[in-house]
Symmetry: D2
Subunit: 339 residues, 4 copies
C-alpha cells in the first residue's frame, strides 16, 4: 500500500535526523533560548529581509490557538472562509480559547476581500463579536495559492477595517514553490502581522516557525507560549530542525517543497492527459483533488491510500492525493500506471 494520504506520513528528512544524532550529547539551554534556535531564527530573518520575532512552536493547531488567543481580546473574533482549518478541523481549539470563528464562503479555498468586508459589515453592534483578525492559509485546504495581488488586496481591507492578518503556513513551502506563486517570504513579512512557516508537513519531525512582524504583538509573547503549553523544555530540538531546513543559500526547506510539488505536477499531468476532472483545479502545490468513478475509486483503493473528500451528485467521488518530500518516482509511476 502506497500512501498519498498526506505530507506528514514519513518521519523526517534524513539530514535533519543526522544532525540531531550528531548533536545527541551536546548540552543546550532549554525552552528555545539556545544557539540552534537563534541561528535558525537568523536564517529566517535573512529571508524576510527585515527584523521580526521568530518562535518555534511544536504543532500547527497549537500555533493557531496560540497566535489567535494572543492577539484577541475576549469579545473579538477571527474571520476566515468556511473551509478554514481553524473552522473545521481543530476540534474547537480556537473556541476553546474563548473566541468565535466567523466564516464567509470560500472561493477556490480562499477568503476574499469582499468576504472579509461582508463579515465585518455584518457585525456592526456590541451585541455581536467584534472582528479583529483575518486568518487564511497558504496553500489552502484545496491546494490553491494566494497571489501577491490577492494578498495585497486583503491586507488593504484589513488596514481599512482595523484587522490583523494572520497566515497559517502549515503548507507554506509548497505554496511558495508553486509555479502559480509570486509571493516571497519577504512579501509575507510585509503583508502579514504574523504568519508561520510550517515544518511538520515539509520534512521536519514536527515544528512551525511563527514569525511576528508587528511590534505591537511582540511583547511578552513567550509568556503566552508557556501559558498554552507550547514551550517544550527541549526547544533546541525544533531549533536544530529549522537550522537544517534554512541553512545555506539554497535552503533544504524549498528543495523539499519543490520536490513534493514536482511529484504532484507529474500526477496532475497524467490525470489531465487521461481526461480526469478535478474538484479543485491543480495549482502547482502538493495537493490534487481529482474526481473518479466509484469503480476507479475501488480499484485505486486496492493499492493506494488517500482521502475521499466528497461524494458528488453525479455518483463520482472527489479524492485527494498529497505528495511529500519523500514521494519517490516509483510511487508516482505506480499511481500513474493505475490511473
Amino acid at each position: 500500500m502506497i500512501s498519498f494520504r498526506n505530507d506528514y506520513s514519513e518521519v523526517a528528512h534524513p539530514r535533519i535526523l543526522e544532525k540531531l544524532l550528531e548533536c545527541a550529547h551536546t548540552q543546550n539551554n532549554g525552552y528555545g533560548l539556545d544557539v540552534h534556535s537563534a541561528v535558525a531564527a537568523d536564517s529566517i530573518r535573512r529571508l524576510l529581509g527585515r527584523d521580526a520575532d521568530v518562535h518555534f512552536i511544536p504543532g500547527g493547531t497549537q500555533t493557531n490557538l496560540l497566535a489567535i488567543s494572543a492577539c484577541l481580546r475576549p469579545f473579538e473574533c477571527v474571520l476566515t472562509c468556511d473551509t478554514g482549518h481553524i473552522n473545521v478541523h481543530e476540534t474547537g481549539a480556537i473556541e476553546g480559547t474563548g473566541h468565535k470563528v466567523v466564516t464567509a464562503p470560500h472561493v477556490d479555498g480562499k477568503i476574499t476581500p469582499d468576504g472579509v468586508r461582508a463579515m465585518f459589515d455584518a457585525h456592526e453592534s456590541e451585541h455581536m463579536v467584534k472582528p479583529r483578525m483575518v486568518y487564511l492559509s497558504d496553500s489552502t485546504e484545496l491546494g490553491t495559492v494566494y497571489t501577491k495581488a490577492e494578498l495585497t488586496a486583503i491586507r488593504k481591507v484589513c488596514d481599512e477595517l482595523g484587522l490583523l492578518l494572520f497566515l497559517d503556513g502549515a503548507r507554506l513551502g509548497s505554496a511558495l514553490c508553486s509555479a502559480q506563486n509570486d509571493l516571497t517570504l519577504a512579501d509575507l513579512a510585509e503583508l502579514c502581522d504574523l504568519f508561520y512557516i510550517g515544518g511538520t508537513k515539509n520534512g521536519a519531525l514536527f515544528g512551525e516557525a511563527l514569525v511576528i512582524v508587528s511590534d505591537a504583538l511582540k511583547p511578552d509573547f513567550r509568556y503566552m507560549i508557556k501559558n498554552r503549553g507550547a514551550m517544550p523544555a527541549k526547544g533546541f530540538v525544533t531549533g536544530i530542525q529549522f537550522e537544517v531546513l534554512f541553512e545555506g543559500d539554497s535552503p533544504l526547506y524549498f528543495e523539499l517543497a519543490d520536490r513534493a510539488n514536482r511529484q504532484a505536477n507529474k500526477i496532475a499531468a497524467a490525470l489531465t492527459a487521461r481526461g480526469y476532472g478535478f474538484y479543485a483545479a491543480p495549482s502547482g502545490t502538493n495537493q490534487l483533488f481529482p474526481t473518479v468513478t466509484a469503480e476507479k475509486l475501488a480499484q485505486l483503493q486496492r493499492d493506494f491510500a488517500f482521502n475521499i473528500e466528497k461524494s458528488l451528485d453525479d455518483g463520482r467521488f472527489a479524492i485527494r492525493f498529497v505528495t511529500s518530500w519523500a514521494t519517490t518516482d516509483e510511487m508516482v509511476d505506480a499511481l500513474i500506471a493505475a490511473l
Copy 2:
C-alpha cells in the same frame, strides 16, 4: 562549561535517533493511530499489568493542562502542594483552562493526606471552588520520592473524599529507580486514576506517555487532546521514541534513569563526605540540593552551570545539580574535584 542545570539539556539518546533515522522514509498513519504508538502502548501496558489507555503527548505542561481540564467541571479545582509544578512554573496554564489550583504547604516537596484533607475541609460551600483532584509529582520538585505507603494513604483519602488522583511523572523514571522507591508502574496504575511517564527528561527528544486507568476518564479523550492542540500530525514520532524506550525485558527507559541516578549518587556521596549541607536531603534521584557559601558558589559558577534555588538566611545558597542519562563520569569527576 559543564551543565548540571537540568535533565533536558541534551538532544536525545542515540538509540532513539537511530531508530528515527532508520524509519525516516517509512509511511505511517497520522495523529497517533500508527503501529509504533500501538506497540509502545502495549509495552507500557505490559508493565502496568492491566488494561489502560495510553496517549502520547508532546510536552509536560501540555499533559498537565490537558489531563486536568479533561477531568474537571468548570467550578472544580485541583489540590497540590505549594511547590507543585502546576502552581508555580506553568505560567498559569491550568488556570488558563479555567481551574483554580489550591495549595497546602509541602513536606519534603510532597503533599500529605492531612494536607489534602485540610484543603478539602476548607472548601465547604458552593461559594468556593469544589475540590475534585489531587495532583502530585514523583519525583517531586525537591527530588524526593513517594513511598508506596505514602501514595496509598493519599489514595485512601482521595477515595474517602471523592477525589481523583493524578500523578505527574515528568521525572518518573528517576523516581522509580531511586533506592528509596518501593513503587512499581503496576502500583501506580493501581493507585492513580491517571498519571504520566515522562520521556522529555529521560532521554527522549520530547514526549510523555499519559496513562488513563479509570474507565470514567477514557471516553472521548482524543477529542480533548486535539482540542488542546496536543495531537501532533506525526504522532508516530512520539510513538517510535516510546517504542525504543520500553521495548525488551530491560527497557532503556529504566537504564537511562538509573544511569542518571547513579551519577547523582556519586555527587551526593562526595558532597556528604566533604561536609556540605543540603536544602533537601538526597533521595536517590537525579536532583541534588546542596548548600554552598557565596565563595564556593562563585568558584563553581566558573566551570559549571546549575540553578540557584534560594539564598539562605545564613548567607549561603541552596543550589541544584541535576544529572541525566547523558551525564558522563568525566563530568561528575570534574564536579567532585571542584567541590
Copy 3:
C-alpha cells in the same frame, strides 16, 4: 414617540413592584435559598407536573452561557440554526466559555430534525467538535413557535444521536399563549433536558427561571451558577418576582403574555387588511415582521420606534414591531392609524 422596539422597554408590572415594596424591609436568606424562591419554584413545578430543579438566573445571555457550559465538555459543541440568539447576538458569550456554536440554515426561524442530523453527520471525526446539545428558542427570533409535533421530532433525533435539548424561553410566555401553540410547560419538561422561562421580556424587572429536568444535569449546578457570576446575593428579588408571576390558578405570567399577543394580533390584522406583506408570517406571538416601502418607513419613524431588520432587494424594508404586557390600546390604535 411610541416604542414597538421590544418587550423589555418598560420597567416591570406594578404587581411585582408592589410586592417588592411590601417586602422592602423583610429579611431573607441570601443566594436564592429563601422562601420566596422556594415558593416560586414550587409553583413552576406544579405547572410542570413533575419534579425538576428550578434556578432563578438574572439574565438571558447569562442563562445561556451558564446552561451550555455546565452541560458540555471542552470539545463539545452546541447546534442551533443560523438565526439562533447564541450564534448572533451574544457577543461570543458561548465561545467565551470555550464552546463552538455550529449552525444550520433556519426554516421560519426554527431548527429542524434534518438540520440537526446534517450537522451531526458533518462532524464525524475527533478532528472536529463533537455535537452534544441542540439549542433552540421558543418563540424564535422570527416570532414563530414550535408545535408539539416539531419539538417531539427534534427530541427524537436528539435521543437517537445522544444530544441534549435546551430550550431558550426568553419569550416562552408569548410562545405558549400563541394561537398556533399546542405545547404546555408539562410538555416542555417532558421533551427538554433543560429550558428556561423568561421573565425579563414578560413583565419582570429581570430574571429567567431555569428548569433542569434531567437528573444527570442537576448535581452541583449551584456551583456553576456562582462560578459564572450568576448567583446574586439578593436572589430573593428574583424569587419574589417569579412568586408573583406564577401564583394562583391563572398566573399573571400567562395573562401578561396573552395581553402582549393580543395587541400584536390586532396590529397583524390591520397590516393584513391593508395589504402589507410580511418578512415572516405572523404567528400569534408578540413579534411582527411586516415589509414596508421606504416612504412608509420614513413616515412611521416620525412617531414610532422599531427595529429595521433588513433592507430587501425590491427596495422595501422588513421591520419589526414588538408588543409587550404594557402595550396599551392607545398605542396600538395610533400605530394602526399610521399604517
Copy 4:
C-alpha cells in the same frame, strides 16, 4: 429571629422601589443606553470630580470577573491578599476567565505595598504568571478600611511595577462613611485605574457602578460586558436605582451607609463596654467581629442569625455581626440586651 447575617438580607430601600413603581410603564432604551443610567452616571462623575466611564453591572462577582478579565492578557495574574473575596468566595470565577489569583498574607484584612512587592518579586520569569493588577476591597472582608496614605502607597508601588489598581467597592458606602476613613470618591478616581461602587449591599435591589478611570481600559468595554452576560436588557432598572441613590446634594447612598455604620457602632460600643474581645478591631464600618464563648454563642443563636467566622484555639468563637441601612434601633437594642 433577627438577622445580623449580612447587609443584603432586605429587599431594597423603599425610595428606590417607589421610583421603579412610578416609572413602571415608561418606555426606555435597552442595554444601559437610557436616560436614567446617563443621569446616574453624571451624578457619580460629579462626585468623582473628573471624567470617567461608568457602567452599571448587576452583581459583584460578575463585576470582578468582568473587570479583571477585561484588563488582563491570558498569562497575567491578579494580586490580592489571602482573605480577598476573589480568592476565597467566588467559586473560581476569576480562574474561570483564565487568570491565576496570587495571594500574600493580609494585614488586618488588607494588602500592603510590601505584600505587593513580594508577590511581584516572586514572579520573575516567563515560566510563571506575570503580575498585572492589584485587587483590593474597601471596606475589607474584615470590615477594615484603607486610609488615603495606605492606598496612595499601594498606588505608588503599582506605578513602579507597572500594575493596575482595581478596588472592589461592594461595601464602599460603609467604608467611606467610617470615622476611620479619609478617602473620597474623588480620591479613589485619582488612585485607582478602575473601581466599583456597590449598590447590592447598600440598599439597592442589586447593582454595582463600575467606574473606569484609565483611558486605556475604556475602549470596547461594553463588548466585554455583553460577552460576560453582564448587560441586562433592562439596564435602566439598574440606572434608576443609582439615579435614586446618587441624586441631590446629600445622596441617599451615603445616608444609608451612614445609618448602617451607626448601628454597628452602637453594637461595638456595647461589646467593648461589656468586655468582649474582637477577632478584628472595630473600624467604624458595618461589620463587627467579636469573640464569644460557646455558651454565649448558643444563647445568641436562639434569637439572632449571624455568621460564625472561626472557632478559636481558646474555645471561643469569632462571630460576625453585619448591620444594614434597614437595621432598626429595636434590632440593635435587642442584640445589645442579649450581649
